[in-house]
């Protein structure tokens, strides 16, 4: 009995050609399959369950000058993708910079240091200890090295003062009779450099402990006119009579709205901002200058001038330390490094 073949419907008629045709189809499909032998799906099992080892040596320069704008790139290869922590600690300042990642290869792409710290205090000209640890790997060694800092990073911003050059010619200082307030360059604990401004005194009759009105040597500080992307930054450290309801710094930003070179409290803007105690370490106070026009409730302030934050008209910054008078202890606080930055907060 004769049966029509598959190839009859397609092209061929002979039985032999039919099987050849089927074979060609099979080979065609098999050959079209993409080769996935070099790829796999999901996370690497080596990263999840593989053994940990350090594949290369850690090589760092013995010393580095950050003032040229360069950065130190870390280079290390480990056997698996796991969390790693690079911790850089200033031996004298106690400044810290922590870089974390999870890549298998540590390189300039994921681990470079431009000389900055995560927060105040900043690094000084000192020796920095570098450690690289792998917290998720039980029994893994921690790598150590040291780098001598020969030059500090250049701050990106408009520096008002870091109190390194003494008092400005136009500054005004207020201290209660029992308060000593002034620049101190001997503590060795400044947020940046050697000097900071310190208040220290027992003032049981008043919250006001002391203040310093910082004014430019010339007409203004040379700030840009756009407040929206401008940030005021300063380092603050509360030392004694501390507590979240006991001590704070009050900032006055005095603007010369009429341009006569003199601030008139009755007809011009004084923006006031308060920064209350959070903890006893150096803190970075960073305020977007444009936000000064709003009060605590987010409502626009009604001031005596045009009520608009205009940094180019800023002619005075008063830093005022206040502490709870009912607390029977000395009030002590320290401030340092006043700097304006654009687009982002200051990076210590």
């Amino acid at each position: 009995m004769e049966y029509p073949s598959l190839t009859y419907y397609l092209i061929y008629t002979s039985r032999m050609k039919k099987y050849v045709f089927i074979w060609i189809i099979l080979m065609f499909f098999a050959g079209c399959r993409k080769d996935d032998s070099a790829n796999f799906e999901g996370p690497d099992l080596n990263d999840l369950y593989g053994p940990f080892s350090i594949m290369t040596d850690l090589e760092l320069p013995n010393q580095f000058d950050f003032s040229t704008g360069g950065s130190i790139a870390f280079s290390l290869e480990i056997s698996k993708q796991t969390n790693w922590v690079i911790e850089i600690t200033g031996q004298s300042s106690g400044a810290k910079r922590i870089i974390q990642g999870k890549e298998r290869i540590i390189s300039a792409d994921n681990a470079s240091w431009k000389g900055g710290a995560d927060q105040f205090p900043s690094f000084g000209l000192e020796s920095a200890i570098v450690s690289i640890s792998f917290p998720e790997e039980e029994g893994a060694i921690t790598l150590y090295d040291t780098i001598e800092i020969k030059g500090l990073k250049i701050d990106d911003g408009i520096l008002i003062t870091s109190f390194e050059s003494g008092m400005g010619t136009n500054w005004n200082v207020f201290n209660q009779t029992t308060t000593s307030g002034g620049i101190n360059c001997n503590s060795g604990m400044a947020a940046k450099g050697q000097c900071s401004y310190v208040w220290d005194g027992l003032v049981p009759w008043d919250w006001a402990v002391g203040s310093v009105m910082i004014k430019p040597d010339s007409t203004n500080f040379g700030l840009p006119s756009n407040a929206n992307n401008l940030f005021f930054n300063m380092a603050v450290k509360f030392i004694s009579n501390i507590g979240t309801t006991n001590s704070f710094i009050q900032f006055w930003f005095d603007e010369d709205d009429n341009g006569d070179g003199v601030f008139d409290e009755d007809s011009e803007d004084r923006f006031i901002y308060e920064y209350w105690y959070k903890d006893s370490n150096w803190q970075l106070v960073s305020i977007n200058y444009a936000d000064l026009m709003y009060d605590e409730d987010g409502e626009p302030r009604q001031l005596n001038g045009n009520s608009l934050p205009e940094p180019s008209k800023l002619i005075g910054i008063n830093v005022f330390f206040l502490a709870n008078k009912d607390n029977p202890e000395r009030s002590k606080a320290e401030v340092d490094h006043i700097i304006f930055t654009t687009n982002q907060s200051y990076k210590p």
């Binding site: 089927i22 499909f29 999901g42 999840l48």
Partner: protein, 569 residues
Amino acid sequence: MNKLLIIISGILCYWNVLGQSQKFQVNGAARTYIFANELNIDQEIDSITPRNANYGHSLLDLGFSIFPNKQTEVIGAFRIRNELGGFWGGGVSFNVRQLTLKGVAGNKIRYELGDIDLSASPYTLFNNHEEGAVNENSIFSTRRDVVHYDLFYLNNSWRMQGAKASFSLLSNRIVQSINVESFLTRQNPSNMLDQAERLFGGFTVNVIKDKHLNLSIHSVNLFDLSQTITIDHSRYNNSANSLALNYLINKKDNSTSSLKMESGFSTSRYFQTQSPDTKTNIGDWFYDFSYKYKLLKHNITLGYKDVGSDYRAPGAQTKRMNFARSPALYQQISNAFIPRAASPFDFIYGNTQNSYKIDPLLMYFNPVYGNLSPYGMATPNRRGIYIDYTNNGKKIVRESFCKLNMLGESRGNGTNAKRNFIQLSSGTDFYINEWIKMAKILKLNIGWQYEVTTRDGADFEQINLSSSLLDAGLSYQIAGDMFLLLGLKSWSAKGNEFIQSRDDFNRIVDFESIQINAQESSVASGLQYNFNTRNSLSLVYELYALENKIEGNINYGISQFNLLFNLYF
């Protein structure tokens, strides 16, 4: 309540009389199912969980087919269910089980609206059988069928709500017939917040050239509708398409040889506007060729398949049983309230959380019960050969089969090394009474499945998992339609595997390394009286036990006494 019962009784009597006519038919089912469970667990491990759990129900499914005219049929099925202990309305529920309108328009187009059952090919739309049964005894299968009936798991189709239309083109000198079927169903309504309305639609074109050549094109599509939620922040689309060909090579008096091919592709698109990086488009394809030779009562099939690792066909990959959820019975055990893992034992009695709609994600599965093809034939990332042998004997040995699957991955999971799978399953019904020339039926049924998963490579990526399932039973005709039934299911698994976790975009995001060394068994005995082939009354005592040899895991057991009266009319 009394009035309601009187009204229902009156309506039933009226319908019964009316149903004698050609315009009306009544069908349905009735069931009484009573369970008495006892948890067997060490008192020191679990002093909290109540040991006994007794429950049951009686229900009546009433289905009505009304024929308003010769070309239209209206089907309505209603369920009245009364929980054991419910009295005078307490615990009674009344639900609509099916509403379907079907008919023929213009003597050409057949249509169905409402509840419809859909299936296409095993690679596009297919409701795969759950794990845990290899030629099982009716002491288990009768109860499993109850679950299948309740969930509409019939003939590998999915019950959906929507519309279906089909028509046939007239034959001509080139083809014998062309049949076209299309459907559109609703999977998810929009919740107006973050879940868009999801539809599932597709078509099948079947071209029958003649008795030798049969060609089918399948296309199924799962997709979200835009502008059905406040902000269109996420959308999912999947399309699975295939071309299937059946070719009868040769047919003689005693033998037949045929060729079967199916090949297709899928594309999936996930889009989330809130996280543009989660936009993923994946696609892959598959092919499956098999040659079947039939000689007398012997059938042998030899095939080769390759399903790409990114092939996604939710309609064919959705699992019936959700292993990620604990079963309803003894949901948590131990003093630490550890969720109890679902097992095939729980599926037999409907304790598991089961799928009633298409799931776009590859669902969690337990490799102990099946690692080779957890998502059916459309399981992605599998390629290799398969051999099936069946023997349709009619005497002492009947319904024998032997299947061998030797598959491997085409893409590694978490490593470039690839897993290899070997699964051998076999089973038969052995009619002892035919052998010893006894009048009363004495049937031994045996099924066995053995599976090995291996992967080479570094120590941490090696896999070696073996598992086996012995499914055996004995049916003895005591007298007339009364049978004594004995059943045994024994699972054992030993080795290690990595459990995959997938994110909302079906990507593997984690592997959990697990060690397995466990033995599970279900021993059941009971009496069953068959009123006819579909209706029976049975009384069964079953003892399930899990012995987990990995330190820290919990051993427990469940003993169960159940009574099932099952009636279909």
